[in-house]
């Protein structure tokens, strides 16, 4: 039983790559949810009324301080009739929205105060102030940080295996259990992650430097 079985590597690779497609899909859709929801939370966090800002901040704080795995398993148990992949994407999105909202907040704070004053002087509506002036400036600054969260979400997609989403690690565990070849499949899965995430983080670092952070 000792040693490394190269046959198992060749045999499991197509399965893992098949699962990898689901991993990527979950990452991309989860990132989209997090990017949109995070923006909404950040804007809501600047509402003039405390009845909005305090609950929003409390919920964000709660979501980001509690484990993703518990949120996933809990959501899957509560909504057992929903397709696990959808639950996974929703939970990943909500979890990371709590982080991206903080990123947007910093980006919005980074827009010079004079811009707000100019909008008021021009008597733009709040909607146009956000749409035409504040957000275009804020979003450009936060793109690198959003990218970093996308990468870390990518590395947390294996959690989805727990709620039986058939992504890469799910396939790896299944193959490992069937053929008793855990060493090969987990090594392979780890390498696939490394090969996919390292160039992306290099790219993000370059982008960050170019935008002057």
């Amino acid at each position: 039983m000792n040693g490394f079985d190269w046959n198992a590597v060749g045999e499991s690779l197509p399965l893992l790559l098949e699962g990898f497609r689901v991993t990527l899909l979950a990452t991309v859709l989860g990132t989209l949810v997090a990017a949109v929801l995070g923006l909404a939370v950040a804007v809501a966090g600047r509402a003039p009324s405390k009845f909005v800002t305090v609950p929003v901040r409390a919920v964000t704080e709660f979501v980001r301080s509690t484990p993703l795995l518990v949120q996933l398993v809990g959501a899957a148990a509560l909504f057992s009739s929903v397709e696990p992949l959808y639950i996974g994407i929703a939970v990943l999105g909500v979890h990371y929205a709590a982080y991206t909202s903080e990123v947007y907040r910093a980006g919005i704070d980074g827009v010079p105060k004079g811009q707000w004053e100019a909008c008021r002087a021009l008597s733009l509506s709040p909607r146009r102030t956000w749409q035409a002036v504040i957000l275009p400036q804020a979003v450009r600054n936060v793109l690198p940080a959003l990218g970093n969260y996308a990468i870390s979400m990518f590395k947390e997609t294996p959690f989805l295996a727990v709620i039986t989403v058939q992504e890469m690690v799910f396939e790896a565990r299944k193959y490992g259990a069937d053929h008793f070849a855990y060493t090969e499949v987990f090594t392979l899965a780890g390498l696939i992650f490394l090969v996919a995430s390292y160039p992306t983080s290099l790219l993000m670092r370059k982008l960050e430097k170019r935008l002057g952070h």
Partner: protein, 243 residues
């Protein structure tokens, strides 16, 4: 509703031991991660190419290959390959320590780089030995910068401990899940579990805030007691990123 909580009280010794496992994994994992972070972070600033390269490779490897896979590799694959088996808790501590140590190394590297150049030059001009230079001048200043990022990493580490449930260590999540199975009260069980982690995370944040205040005091920057209750530092993303 009441079923779950009465069972919780009844089974309190079990819950306590689960909580203990979670805390043990967090604290031991954090200690290992801290030691690794300093070792790798200092190596990353070394003049020797070999030390720098080694640190870079280790950091990129453990950051690049998902914690989940590292943990499962240690638990399932290592015994098959080497015949040497770790207990689930130790598996968790090693995986958390290696993974977060790699993230922490970037924090240490970034914080040391952010100490103004003039401080190095002044320390050299005063003829301090390299060890004293690091210990008395550079690290105290870098340390203040590191703490907010370390706080974030610590909370991340705590949030990963439910993974222990998957490799059958009887942590807090395992215990509460068992109570849930016995009562069938899914919502109450998971909300209780989430609340427990939230309280733990906030307690850790408060401790780290105290540490930050002490470190700032030593540099003559007194921030007062107001900042102690804050849940997250505004400078958290300043050094090395959050993840």
């Amino acid at each position: 509703m009441s079923d779950f909580f009465s069972l919780l009280v009844e089974e309190f010794p079990q819950v306590r031991s689960g909580l203990w496992v979670t805390l043990e994994a967090t604290v031991l994992g954090a200690l290992l991660a801290g030691a690794l972070a300093f070792a790798l972070g200092l190596m990353a600033g070394s003049k020797l190419l070999l030390a720098r390269g080694f640190s870079r490779v280790v950091v990129e490897f453990f950051r690049g290959t998902s914690l989940y896979i590292q943990l499962f590799w240690l638990y399932y694959a290592m015994p098959l390959l080497t015949g040497y088996e770790l207990t689930p808790l130790i598996c968790g501590v090693v995986a958390f320590g290696l993974n977060y140590g790699a993230y922490g190394a970037e924090v240490v590297r970034g914080a040391i780089n952010s100490v103004p150049r003039g401080q190095y030059e002044a320390a050299i001009a005063l003829n301090l030995s390299p060890a004293r230079r690091l210990w008395k001048v550079i690290l105290p200043q870098a340390w203040v910068q590191m703490i907010p990022s370390f706080t974030n990493l610590l909370i991340q580490l705590l949030k990963c401990t439910p993974l222990l449930w998957l490799i059958s260590a009887a942590d807090l999540m395992t215990v509460i899940q068992q109570l849930r199975d016995r009562t069938g009260e899914t919502l109450t069980a998971y909300l209780t579990l989430l609340a427990a982690y939230f309280v733990l995370a906030y307690a850790l944040t408060l401790l780290m805030n105290l540490l930050e205040r002490g470190a700032k005091r030593r540099l003559g920057l007194d921030t007062g007691a107001k900042g102690l209750l804050k849940s997250r530092s505004t400078t958290a993303t300043a050094v090395g990123g959050t993840r």
